[in-house]
């Protein structure tokens, strides 16, 4: 069972309080009606599914109820950092810095 830092509760909480909610930073197109079938496929079905650093959404469903984002290594399952919904994707530098911190 993972420990996940909820950026709203400001504390690590056990995984079973959370629900994984798929890949992060896939914004719903603002004029969704106008997009092509290919673009809709890309938005709704295609996923990066990376082996390594993944950006994903979680919901603290049995906690504060908030959706938030996480950076996780899908090989080690280690959560590198979490951040509030709506915040931009952390840069590689930020992730590397955090990884160094974790290694200490």
């Amino acid at each position: 069972m993972l420990l996940i830092y909820c950026p709203y509760c400001k504390e690590e909480r056990p995984e079973i309080e959370f629900r994984h909610a798929g890949e992060a930073h896939i914004a719903r197109p603002t004029d969704i009606k106008a997009i092509s079938d290919e673009d809709f496929e890309g938005f709704f079905f295609i996923r990066s599914n990376p082996k390594g650093i993944a950006f994903e959404r979680w919901r603290h469903v049995h906690g504060c109820g908030r959706f938030f984002n996480a950076v996780r290594d899908t090989v080690s399952d280690k959560i590198i950092m979490t951040y509030e919904a709506g915040k931009p994707r952390p840069s590689d530098e930020e992730i590397q810095a955090r990884l160094k911190e974790l290694a200490l």
Binding site: K33, D37, G86
Partner: protein, 997 residues
């Protein structure tokens, strides 16, 4: 008397505390604290089991959880039988019943032993090469025979009456292992004030000190020190000491599962006591002090009862006071067996010879052996043994040839060296590294916040172990918030240093391909099996393991893995690390399902959700159905009625008079905020801005892909407040779906969602007399058609209680849904019932609800639709607001296949014979005479006998269904074909007049 082999004055058990137990029906006496194994050996019983494949007679190999051979059934009563219990772990208790396994008719005479004679045939993987002809015989003949011969113990056949419990627990430092390294680490960590848990799988702390007789700690005997140290720890507020507790699984982020056996050693457990307790530990730091496990020697016929690990024999002697034989042979590649031999000799047991395959045993050993008059044969090997149900002799030969010499023995102890227990480290996803100097795998790169200390870390010297453990304990304590603390002063001496030894087959293991030199005892894997696997192309250790089943028995290869690896490496001509190491997976030792499940059994398996009116429904004879976690009243049979009759009566009554229906399980969401209507516009296909407070509307919710996700009536309570209803099963996911969009796609909207599913009890009163029934109970609401037309909602009081009263109908009748605060649900229901019953109304259940709505063509999402149906398919195009720029699903609906011709559409079906009721799920075809596979047009989604229509009715999803109106189609059944006509979906009151009363 607790056995002829009990040595007076030896061991730590109290001779006066005797315990009687039975083994295979014979009564034996042991001592309190004995394991089943020690008690049986004390009584001269070495034959304790039969092996898996060849049914060879077996005794104990070890004295702990690594035991592969001595597995028993332990039975307390009919419901509490446990197969495959290690006799070396199970403590005896008064009245215990143990039975041997995998033998017929008896342990001494086992027909299955014929397999041993046929063993040349049963080489590794032989079953892949045969039993293929004739084809049918595999399943009819070969497989049943193989299955019956395999398996070990017998599964329980009654439900377990014991109970199990669980605790989540958090600590600063978890120490796994209660030997000298674990105790030292725990003592050090505890001094810092950190919270510490230390666990050990055995009944007592002390680890190897239980048999290492000569060790002293701070001047006192090692084991006494360990007991005192454990007591000292247990007395500290910040420490929890758990014995009989196995750390079995090391999961992510220092989450470790511990299984504590609470009552398995007790004769009469208190009924309150759980049998086992699962500790789910989250530790900031883990210290692994898991020790090492001795390996056996791999040589011909090394598996006879009486042949065991030297450490086991030493523990039987020094801890239990039991001699494993009277004439003991020793075969070793390591120094540890010498210490056992010396202890045995000093206890008065004859040691016939120490056979050492090395030229040069450890310093001083030869002299000490000579002092004790023990013959040592260096550069010799044991090349064979004899004896039927127990070893009677060993054949010894000089390594470089010469004649064999037979030495009569009744026990043979052996040591090939020690394997550090890196199981938990490996489970933590740490990478083990091959240490070429000492020829063993040791912890390499760590993946989690843990430290290994002592023997499991490859630290062999006692004082070095202590120092390493103390340092780790202090560091762990300090790192997790403890204070700086002084080192506990611990000085140990007198322990052996047992690095070195050998892995793989000894001289007596072939290359002769007829020799049975066992590597994995339980699965009967021999050295030649491993060589055969390699010969057949199995060049990965995982292939070797799977082909031979080496290491896959219930001991999971604790004694056999390294040997198997070494033999494979030798056969491949590669170094061991090149061949790899199989992965260690949880659990470390087998854990009962009961322990893992703990509370989640019986009524705690899953919450059964009941509505506020459930008690009334029960009292009135309702039969319930499960819908999600809810228990819903299904129908209310009266005396002499079956389901059919009850439903027919209920259906008639609702349309003729009225009925009461408990709709409390519907999901309810209060949507509140200035942007509430705007948000609902995005969530539903319908438009909401124009809905006036006090009005209701049926809404359809799609997923982004355009398929129907849920539906329900939405009432606008106020400008900024909506009362949304969802399906019963859909409530949680719909709320999650809406929250998801609100929080992540439309966070700028000022609106919030609150589940009120359980705030309101909902009583549907439906039928021509609905108004008459409730009117006298209602205050502050004008119920007239004019003031409160169909699809309106009002707030007021009923029975003096606040209500949200909805004029809605899922039956087609005039009706109300009375929402009242849940605590008042039953009282209001009863008040309405008191008015309804004299008028001839009835209570009705979900089945009648289903029939009545089907008569009206109202769909049930999840039954008449599944996740592949669009609103257009379901005939609900009218519910899609055409002018809205956006709603969830708007783009998905436009995809090519969703607008293509030939989609399945919801239609009605009438059977040509009105009495025939179709089966729900039945498939529909145009041509009933076509061959299989048939071209199916669709399926029946709902089908009922309609008492009100006087005929059967059905709905179906059919390709191009609406264009087929009036067509005759066919429903092929196994025994006949049913003719149906495609119709509209409304079967009753087509004009929809009844809803207005």
């Amino acid at each position: 008397m607790s056995g002829a082999n009990r040595i007076a004055g030896a061991g730590r058990l109290t001779p006066a505390k005797t315990v009687r137990f039975t083994f295979d029906g014979d009564i034996y006496t042991g001592l309190e604290g004995d394991t089943l194994a020690s008690a049986l050996i004390a009584n001269g019983v070495h034959l304790m089991g039969r092996s898996f494949k060849y049914h060879r007679p077996r005794g104990v190999l070890g004295a702990g959880s690594e035991e592969p051979n001595a597995l028993m059934g332990i039975e307390r009563d009919k419901a509490r039988k446990q197969p495959n219990v290690r006799a070396t772990v199970q403590e005896v208790f008064e009245g215990m019943t143990a039975v041997s396994q995998n033998r017929w008719p008896s342990l001494g005479f086992d027909v299955g032993a014929v397999n041993d004679l046929l063993s040349p045939f049963f080489a590794a993987g032989f079953y892949y090469k045969t039993f293929m002809w004739p084809k049918a015989a595999w399943q009819k003949l070969y497989e049943p025979v193989i299955r019956a011969a395999a398996g070990l113990g017998v599964s329980p056949d009654e439900a377990d009456t014991d109970h199990y419990t669980s605790r989540y627990i958090h600590c600063d430092v978890l120490v796994i292992g209660g030997g000298v390294s674990g105790l030292s680490a725990a003592l050090a960590a505890a001094r810092t004030g950190a919270s510490v848990i230390i666990c050990d799988e055995q009944a007592h702390a002390g680890g190897a000190f239980a048999y290492e007789a000569g060790v002293t700690m701070n001047g006192e005997p090692g084991f006494d020190w360990a007991v005192a140290a454990a007591n000292e720890l247990a007395a500290m507020d910040n420490v929890r000491v758990l014995t009989r507790t196995t750390a079995f699984g090391y999961y992510a982020q220092n989450f470790v599962g511990l299984a504590e056996r609470v009552t398995d050693h007790l004769a009469d457990p208190e009924p309150q006591q759980p049998r086992e307790r699962l500790w789910q530990v989250r530790a900031k730091k883990v210290i692994l002090a898991t020790g090492a496990i001795e390996r056996h020697m791999v040589f011909a016929n090394n598996d006879r009862p009486g042949i065991m690990l030297s450490s086991a024999a030493r523990k039987f002697l020094n801890h239990y006071g039991v001699a494993v034989g009277t004439k003991v042979g020793v075969y070793t590649a390591n120094d540890s067996a010498y210490e056992t031999a010396f202890d045995l000799k000093r206890a008065g047991v004859s040691v016939e010879a120490i056979v050492d395959c090395r030229d040069h045993p450890g310093e001083g050993l030869l002299e000490r052996a000579a002092d004790l008059n023990i013959e040592v044969l260096t550069d010799h090997s044991v090349i064979n043994t004899s004896g039927a149900r127990r070893i009677s002799a060993m054949t010894v030969k000089r390594n470089r040839g010469g004649a064999g010499r037979s030495i009569a023995v009744d026990a043979l102890i052996m040591s090939a060296g020690w394997t550090p227990s890196v199981h938990m480290f490996s489970q933590s996803r740490g990478k083990v590294a091959w240490d070429a100097d000492t020829q063993r795998y040791l912890p390499g790169e760590y993946a989690q916040d843990c430290t290994s200390v002592g023997a499991c870390n490859g630290t062999d010297d006692l004082q070095a172990t202590i120092d390493e453990a103390v340092a780790a304990g202090l560091a762990a304590g300090k790192a997790t918030g403890g204070k700086r603390a002084a080192k506990p002063k611990l000085a140990g001496s007198g322990a052996g240093n047992w690095s070195g030894g050998m892995a793989g087959s000894a001289a007596g293991a072939g290359p002769d391909t007829t020799v049975k030199a066992f590597v994995d005892f339980q699965n009967d894997v021999t050295a030649k099996d491993i060589r055969l696997a390699v010969r057949e192309g199995m060049h990965s250790i995982e292939h070797v393991k799977r082909f031979t089943t080496n290491g896959m028995a219930s001991d999971q290869g604790k004694t056999s893995n390294i040997h198997g690896l070494a033999i494979a490496a030798e056969a491949l001509g590669r170094d061991m690390p090149e061949v790899g190491l199989t992965t260690f997976r949880p659990p470390y030792t087998p854990v009962t399902f009961g322990s893992i499940v703990n509370h989640g059994r019986g009524k705690l398996f899953d919450p059964a959700r009941k509505t506020p009116m459930h008690g009334w429904e029960e009292e009135h004879g309702a039969v319930f159905e499960d819908v999600g976690q809810w228990k819903r009243a299904w129908y209310y049979p009266r005396a002499g009625e079956d389901m059919h009759a009850a439903v027919n009566r209920e259906c008639r009554t609702v349309r003729a008079v009225a009925g009461l229906f408990d709709a409390s399980t519907l999901g309810k969401i209060e949507v509140v905020g200035p942007d509430a209507a705007k948000f609902l516009d995005l969530m539903y296909t319908n438009g909401w801005q124009k809905l006036k407070p006090g009005r209701c509307k049926y809404g359809i919710m799609l997923r982004e892909d355009g398929f129907i996700y849920d539906d329900g009536v939405v009432a606008r309570i106020a400008e900024d407040r909506f009362h949304v209803t969802t399906t019963t099963g859909g409530a949680p996911r719909v709320l999650n779906h809406m929250e998801d969009y609100l929080q992540t796609e439309f966070p700028e909207l000022d609106v919030w969602l609150t589940s009120t599913s359980e705030q309101w009890a909902v009583i549907a009163v439906q039928g021509p007399k609905a108004r008459e029934i409730i009117a006298p109970l209602v205050e502050g609401i004008d119920l007239s058609n004019e003031a409160m037309p169909h699809m309106s909602a009002r707030e007021g009081k009923i029975c003096g209680v606040p209500t949200r009263l909805f004029r809605v109908s899922f039956t087609g009748e005039a009706g109300f849904e009375v929402n009242v605060p849940a605590d008042y649900g039953r009282a209001v229901w009863e008040a309405i019932w008191a008015r309804a019953e004299p008028l001839g109304a009835c209570a009705y259940g979900t089945e009648t609800m289903h029939v009545l709505r089907a008569e009206k063509g109202f769909i049930i999402v999840g039954q008449d639709t599944d996740g592949t149906v669009t609103p257009q398919d379901a005939g609900l195009s009218w519910a899609i607001a055409k002018s809205k720029p956006d709603f969830v699903g708007i783009r998905g609906l436009m995809r090519p296949d969703l607008v293509a011709e030939g989609r399945k559409q919801l239609v009605g079906l009438k059977t040509k014979d009105p009495k025939t009721v179709l089966e729900e799920g039945a498939q529909i075809v145009a041509d009933p005479n076509q061959p299989v596979p048939m071209k199916m047009l669709g399926h029946v989604t709902s089908s009922y006998w309609s008492e009100n229509c006087g005929q059967s009715i059905a709905m179906a999803l059919i390709a191009d269904g609406r264009a087929r109106a009036g067509e005759t189609l066919y429903v092929p059944m196994p025994d006949r074909t049913i003719e149906v006509e495609v119709t509209g979906t409304v079967f009753f009151d087509e004009k929809g007049e009844r809803v207005n009363g």
